[in-house]
Symmetry: C2
Subunit: 206 residues, 2 copies
């Protein structure tokens, strides 16, 4: 087997690992698969990390850091609950698009290892914080009271999380543009999520 | 191996097969798995169907018949486009909940066989019919013009399709009720989807 010089950093190795995890599923990925995809030997990989679960933990941490970071942004801690909620919804869509492979992995973990169980628990925590914000906004009279807060949270995340199924980042040559015919840009998508979720698709009655 | 008498009909065998397909993934399911889950021999299964792809085709057909049936209902063919769209959205959520395992399977096919490719093509057709309805409703001035119709369709289906991740049918003893603490009933969920998508979560400004 021709030996490729190991020019990886823990960061660039992670990029390769996340791609393989998303393609084959975490359970279906072996160190052999990672070694082949990276083009370096297994022992070179072990030089960087203890094993595939460490790569998973690092990847999931990156997604979770992005998501939980939102909750500490000024827009999420100051102002009326409904505006904070709107900020969180827009930023969650943006973080999902900016960190697409990492959040995709987070949304797909199954719970077969400690790291996956931890990921699922943290995801639930994030959802619960959003539900709390929703309840507060409803109590302040800014959100409709006839949709249960937990149910609304699920529908919100259903809409946002579906982006991992179809959103593909713009190519460099169309950055800032619409991403080509039939393609929506990151900002357009985030704006559409916020409008649909908060104002609804129907025009206001006369 | 103790032989269990084959009391299956094509219909009841399908129920078992769809459960196994959803648990293991269609690709990961062998005739051996189906035989073990059904408790009958492989040759007994071959008595009912030609193979696992026929079971997949039947299951997918059931989901698609339910979905395309909506488009022929009176509420989907008469009236203003926005009302027809609302009907289709509500009924799609309902059919998804009523035919949960079948629609779950439809949403998860990957496109590795002719049957899967056909399923994906039919799903796209359904989505396109909804996009057309959305465009018409926007042209009639009933839907906001500042969210692209294809993007809106994707967000709508993102919200509706997410039900397969968390909606679980009510138990018999709470039929018609709220499905127990923290559980939402089928009708409550369908109503929440329609309200969120069309009117938005925010209360109308004074």
């Amino acid at each position: 087997m021709p030996v490729k010089r190991d020019t990886y950093t823990p960061e660039s190795l992670l990029t390769v690992a996340v791609r393989v995890f998303n393609e084959r599923g975490y359970d279906g990925t072996s160190m052999e698969h990672l070694s082949r995809a990276a083009g370096i030997s297994k022992s070179s990989i072990y030089h960087h990390v203890r094993g595939k679960e460490e790569l998973l933990r690092r990847a999931i941490s990156r997604a979770l850091d992005g998501l939980f970071g939102i909750l500490e942004e000024p827009g999420a801690v100051r102002g009326r609950a409904v505006d904070r909620l709107e900020h969180v919804v827009r930023r969650t869509a943006e973080v999902l698009m900016d960190e697409l492979p990492y959040v995709t992995l987070l949304l797909r973990v199954r719970g077969n290892t400690d790291t996956e169980l931890w990921a699922m628990a943290r995801r639930r925590e994030f959802d619960q914080q959003v539900t709390r914000l929703l309840r507060q906004a409803a109590a302040e009279g800014d959100l409709r009271g006839d949709v249960d807060a937990r149910l609304a949270t699920r529908l919100l995340f259903g809409m946002i999380n579906s982006l991992v199924e179809w959103y593909r980042p713009e190519r460099g040559d169309t950055a800032g543009g619409s991403g080509g015919p039939g393609r929506s840009s990151r900002d357009e998508v985030a704006e559409a999520v916020v409008r649909t979720a908060f104002a609804g698709l129907r025009t206001a009655p006369d």
